[in-house]
Symmetry: C2
Subunit: 270 residues, 2 copies
Amino acid sequence: MEKRTAFFISDGTGITAETLGHSLLTQFEQVSFEQVALPYVNTPEKARETVERINACADAQPLLFTTLINPEIRAIITSSKGLLLDFLTTFLEPLEKTLKMKSSHRIGRMHGAQDYQTYKTRIDAVNYALNNDDGANIHNYEQADLIVIGVSRCGKTPTCLYLALQFGVFVANYPFTEDDMDHLRLPSFLQPHRAKLFGLDIDPQHLQSVRQERRPNSPYAELGQCQKEIRKVKGLFEAEQIPTVNTTGRSIEELSTIILSRMNLKRRLF
Amino acid sequence: MEKRTAFFISDGTGITAETLGHSLLTQFEQVSFEQVALPYVNTPEKARETVERINACADAQPLLFTTLINPEIRAIITSSKGLLLDFLTTFLEPLEKTLKMKSSHRIGRMHGAQDYQTYKTRIDAVNYALNNDDGANIHNYEQADLIVIGVSRCGKTPTCLYLALQFGVFVANYPFTEDDMDHLRLPSFLQPHRAKLFGLDIDPQHLQSVRQERRPNSPYAELGQCQKEIRKVKGLFEAEQIPTVNTTGRSIEELSTIILSRMNLKRRLF
């Protein structure tokens, strides 16, 4: 198998360079890539050390996935033997042309220090999600942008944490449990917040395997129990016209973006 | 102020297109951008609807920030009047050239459904972080990749949740409280896990403002109290040679990548 070294180089966290670069590399399955993350290359000295590291590499042409805005750093990295694939600067030229102006060439602020308000929005959203997880506080829903509902272990908590941490959305979640099943209805404290409700659905077999992991061989993890809870909760979602998505086989990013788009919510953080 | 419409178009979640596109737009402060997220453009029909929407736009040339791999969808979007800035396909040609092979042109898997193992790693890491938050379980540190320590409200919880959710790292956190301050030392249950410890530092003024928000005008939020706790805990970090980072003014992404890099940990998720 052919081998090639791929560097992810950034003057910041390198998260985007790594995410996008990794995605491009998966397009070339016949190559074995040695992947090296080099974040915080933010001084000419560090850039020169990076060039030495690239040039010391046995490959004819290492791959350099970068998000570099600073022209000085970028020029130093360009002087290496690697193939520069820059996710930011590549697009500045066509943008400058269509907008008929120069870009400010400020260091990428993608994941950098943010103003206090942005920081606070994020921390407040995370605290809200933690304090209002799993029905922990049913008197706090005025503040919510969104209330995610569904059976135990259908994916509510990780989805809500992602929405809070990455998008700054104020999101609570409330579970329907075994005890609710015989006379399942929308609890009175959720009724005034009906427009904020979003339901998570899940395939019974998948729910069973997740619950089995959690409490092996319990009644809770029996397929019949999973099927019953899901059937009842789906009936409630339909009767109450609550929008839903099936979590089976979907990533947390997919669920989060589907929910935002269906609920007409916008991300507060980038 | 000049106005321009920017579309973020993806056959998946569009998270990367939006993050990178947003970062590029911040380089042009003199323009007011109307930003429109269009995720899940994954059929020719949806692509044609998107083209209609782009062409109906009053701008001469709307900006299209995209992550599109599917050549059919991409061709339809290209037929619009917008300026295509594709963060993936742009780099496939130089990669194909240097690797001397064709790419597989599979739909981007950046944030798509993942194999069960990846999914499970993520959920397990999130559950581990939640169950081992704020010293909740001191008998569970064998499993940890990392244990984050510091004073109350220095940023431990959001940083740990990010490390779990985005990178799949198993991370616990443990707080030093007022009661520990008089005879501050490394607790016996942390000593066997010394190599996993990472300390969070914070500026006293910043800590005060965060605590003031939490418990206004309490002794806990007094500047003197914040100064004292930080001084003692910093002394402990130094005496025990525990690596640290100051959280003041740093984003959660910055803190997470700095910690990973200093602790020689690798992300398990992309």
